[in-house]
Subunit: 249 residues, 2 copies
Amino acid sequence: MISRTRIKWIKSLEMRKYRLQEKAFVAEGPKLVGELLPYSTPLYIAATKDWLDANRHLLRAVKEVDEVSQTELERASLLRTPQSVLAVMPIHERRLDISSLQKKLVIALDSVQDPGNLGTILRIADWFGIHEVLCSEGTADVYNPKCVQSCMGALARVKVFYCNLPEVLGQVEMPVFGTFLDGTDIYKEELSQQGIIVMGNEGNGISQPVAKLVNRRLYVPNYPKGSLTTESLNVAVATGIVCAEFRRR
Amino acid sequence: MISRTRIKWIKSLEMRKYRLQEKAFVAEGPKLVGELLPYSTPLYIAATKDWLDANRHLLRAVKEVDEVSQTELERASLLRTPQSVLAVMPIHERRLDISSLQKKLVIALDSVQDPGNLGTILRIADWFGIHEVLCSEGTADVYNPKCVQSCMGALARVKVFYCNLPEVLGQVEMPVFGTFLDGTDIYKEELSQQGIIVMGNEGNGISQPVAKLVNRRLYVPNYPKGSLTTESLNVAVATGIVCAEFRRR
């Protein structure tokens, strides 16, 4: 059984304002919740009897658990097709220590606006062993339900820091890479295993204040080079190609 | 002024059934419509006075044009935020001639279900000079509004063929590549500039009947190799990485 107050609380977490206030976000589905459980203790879980029976041993530390019917779950869910479990997870505030980025490969996002793209990029970071992602203040919220659901376990393994991006880039002592339509062919440029890879907004690319701090301008060549094609690749696809190339070297 | 019948017709094209019946689809926004105009004559256009004034010289062959207010456009549009122009474009039926694929690089999609992913993949094909995309019958419809809007001009430049994929793959005399979690590291495998690159469904990958016809199994390695990360990359991201690698060689 799930109370009305509880449903209201869950629904409120669809909005960023309440996520910030409650320091909590919603994760749904057995796969995602299963991936998050080893990293973080849920504040609350609503799940069907079947899911609870199979996972009871993982929930010892969870203080608030409701056994619910599928219909009740549907009333609480933020998704169109809710699955057997919904968890409210804590948001742990993270302080960015710039010195901790040193010698690492890091992704920085300059106002990536689509939560789906953000989620896909976190999966790319996770795949390529990039554990820190910096987000400008204009970037989508990583705890937006659409982003959470497309991130899957990457959400637990990749650390996301919201920051004043130009300020941070001005302080790091590493190469700052970025993709530009007039950059150097990435396959001809020397790449390093440490540095910051900046990816820009879906429509406008990298903003002026950030572009000034990029000291290695890259370009993913189209084929045949210089032919009349699509104006640009989707930002998550471009991130994937760039990260794959850094890690191939 | 736009008639009620017209609005009903446009709205009906949101459904595949009516797109097939009418052999028509809806494209919206000045950028997309502008990119499609050089390739195909719209069956109908509804646009604001400003857009019409700027584009009148391109519309000589268009028989049905309505000048509309922003409010009227909003009533007709399939989008949340309609822009200054909506075009109904003809769907030209294409017959696949297997011999025409010979010596080319071709993408084949085995039940890619998300229209957004399909649109992003067509942009990737366009970017990398891949002009033919084969789609299994279970793949999303390329004329779905969500796909159309994410494709942009790639929709006009890339030819999409829906077909019985195993049947076609059984007939081509070219290497058939596919990505599998147990495939060979793509960076260690010999790649050719002709062949078919098969990409599978978002959840289930490449289906059994298609997998049997793949004779070059590839894998995009994660980093560090074999580490515990995200289970798989998004299908559009993987397509981007694979195509970039084919074209880099």
